[in-house]
Symmetry: C2
Subunit: 213 residues, 2 copies
């Protein structure tokens, strides 16, 4: 197989052309297409074309939140490393990840929870508009659900893409069913099933940021 | 679907049990099993059970390199964020990612290459044993191949898991065929096909580190 000659600054554009070709006849909702394609771009996994679920106008609402200065809370330092912090800062937001904080480790130990749970509790004390990008720990998403139900937090958007095998599917269902079961409407972008990851969480955040230019 | 009751410190163990269950009858080479399972753990993507290719004793040789103090060079700051740097430091190694360095940006601009290419050139100037963990840019893997062929670098192990659509498959084939076509033997762990990512690169590094304890 021969190398394709593509200039460095053309690689991403060419990648998205190939993704569009490979999607073929598959129809994506235009509002969500760039988020879906960027998730595929970062994983080469076309399952995301079927498994990403969007509440009505979630992408628009996420962009609006960023435009109004919302910050992003994520549960992994890998996710934080991947989010385009410079672009976010243009609107006044920043990226928080509390997972490595000493007070979070102490709180988790004291309460017998994961650090991800403690990091969501810490986020709930922030008095500002927040988007949550959960790319690793279902326990973070479950805790976020509880904090929402208790009225202690009202995320502008939940990007719920934890990955794995213990309570991952369940944690996503809690968010997908929030409105139906609890009567609480929170915009979401959720990767149904076991798949997700910090790379996917970062890619979705960046897909919002890149559409805003 | 009900939440499974698992203690925080048991989640990872339980995850690996579920992965083993889901793999079913599939036989993994015991030498490579923990690397494969950790790649699945970080992606929930069972394709890695088929697509990860190992040169003979690559895992053992990677662990031996780390034990002797080898450092890891990666092409993404997300990968760097995900690698367990504390465990690596016990053996004397550290993690380098040159992607955001100003001299790398300048070199890339001057030479009309990607920054990933320039970051591999910078790595070639390091006078120490290195493991390369390429989780993003196929251009990094292609440049690494060229540097090896030119005798300018001799990696102790190549973890070649770039992801995407432009020259990704080809870049991996260059490494897979190094011995057959160029007569040069370099240990490798390669994710055949388009899939991979910074999370997979970090997971493979960590799988080596965690087996060494």
């Amino acid at each position: 197989m021969e190398l394709e000659q593509v200039k460095p600054q053309e690689i991403e554009k060419r990648s998205f052309e190939i993704i569009t070709e490979l999607l073929g006849e598959k129809k994506l909702d235009p509002e969500n297409a760039l988020v879906i394609k960027r998730a595929i771009h970062t994983t080469a996994d076309f399952d995301y074309a079927d498994h990403l679920k969007f509440s009505p106008h979630a992408v628009k609402m996420g962009m609006e939140a960023i435009r109004q200065g919302a910050s992003i809370v994520t549960d992994t330092n890998m996710g934080k490393a991947g989010i385009n912090k410079k672009k976010l800062a243009r609107y006044g937001g920043q990226v928080y990840c509390f997972m490595a904080d000493e007070d979070v480790a102490a709180m988790a130990k004291q309460n017998g929870t994961t650090r991800a749970v403690a990091s969501m509790d810490k986020a709930a004390s922030l008095k500002q508009d927040l988007i949550f990008a959960v790319g690793n720990a279902p326990t973070a998403l479950i805790r976020l659900y509880e904090l929402i139900c208790e009225g202690r937090i009202a995320p502008r958007l939940i990007i719920g893409v934890p990955v794995g095998f213990v309570n991952v599917i369940q944690s996503k269902e809690l968010i997908l069913n929030l409105e139906k079961e609890m009567g609480i409407r929170v915009p979401y972008i959720i990767a149904e099933g076991r798949k997700g990851g910090s790379n996917v969480a970062a890619a979705i955040c960046n897909a919002l940021l890149y559409q805003m230019e």
